[in-house]
């Protein structure tokens, strides 16, 4: 059996991302290790408290010499434009999760909307990454 263990988001600032994903979204730190022999690469991963086997690595956009300067600029721009990917979250209690996150300072894009698959709202992390949070109907086919 294959499972998804960790997925990854590019972030502009790992300290800012860590603060946002833990203090505002409410995730916990899974790993925060800096490796001096790898140019101080920092493996930073967070995940939802109720799901210990899945994490999101918050990876710094590496810059030269790992990627060339032109590509680095393109990647920064794409992340800033919100085009570097989306995380789809689900919650078993939408309004509890929504209210708690809002109280902690998550700025949602628009209001929650009832869709045919459930209720759904979106927000962005400080880097611009798109995150959706929904409570899916019981009969929603994945």
């Amino acid at each position: 059996m294959i499972s998804i263990a960790t997925t990854q988001l590019w972030v502009h600032d790992q300290d800012e991302a860590l603060k946002y994903w833990t203090e505002k979204v409410g995730f916990e730190v899974r790993s925060d290790v800096t490796v001096p022999e790898m140019g101080s690469f920092r493996w930073l991963a967070v995940g939802p408290p109720g799901q210990p086997d899945v994490a999101i690595a918050l990876m710094a956009i590496p810059g030269p010499p790992m990627i060339d300067a032109a590509t680095d600029d393109q990647l920064r721009d794409l992340v800033g434009k919100g085009l570097a990917g989306t995380v789809f979250l689900t919650t078993d209690d939408f309004w509890e999760s929504y209210t708690a996150m809002k109280d902690r300072g998550v700025e949602f894009v628009g209001e929650p909307e009832q869709q045919m698959y459930g209720i759904d709202v979106g927000f962005r992390d400080p880097s611009g990454n798109n995150v959706r949070m929904a409570n899916l109907n019981a009969d929603f086919g994945r």
Binding site: R76, D77, G80, K81, G82, D120, N130, G141
Partner: protein
């Protein structure tokens, strides 16, 4: 590392996407990006390929098209609920972007939800009409062709649209 300028422009795009139902102006969008309106419009176009005014209008028309597909609301109610005040100019803009009047669009497009459970945020991106400035421009209502819905007959019957 500092965030790139595009991150601030994205705040304006998000404001248009999230609060299209409010009487938003380009000045409001510029404020969200923390730029002067003239500078903002230029930078927004550079980043996203169209003016903020066009982006806000096509977002509103995309939402209106979605409501035409999924509700039985009147055209006037849909117009107001997407942040537009004039039904006349709404109908003209809608016809220009989608190539047919709102009522004809409703009759021709059963809800995509009947055939595919696509997240709402995806629908918003893929059904936003492309800007058409001139009436002579070829109608290209969608970035993507949804194909023929397999439940079309059933959906049309349920909505009471003419066969």
């Amino acid at each position: 590392m500092p965030v790139p300028p595009s991150r601030h422009l994205l705040r304006a795009k998000d404001l248009a996407d999230g609060r299209y139902a409010d009487p938003l102006t380009v000045a409001d969008l510029a404020a969200a990006a923390r730029l002067s309106p003239a500078h903002f419009s230029r930078e927004f176009r550079r980043a996203f390929g169209e003016s903020p005014h066009q982006y806000l209008l096509t977002r509103r028309l995309e939402r209106a098209a979605s409501l035409l597909r999924s509700t039985d609301w009147s055209v006037a109610r849909i117009c107001v609920s997407v942040g537009l005040s004039s039904v006349g100019s709404f109908t003209v803009s809608f016809g220009r972007m989608f190539g047919m009047p709102p009522t004809a669009y409703r009759a021709a497009h059963p809800p995509a939800a009947e055939v595919a459970r696509v997240p709402a945020c995806v629908v918003r991106v893929y059904t936003r009409p492309q800007v058409r400035t001139f009436r002579e421009d070829a109608a290209r209502p969608f970035a993507v062709d949804w194909g023929e819905p397999t439940t079309r007959g059933t959906t049309r019957e349920r909505r009471g649209a003419p066969a």
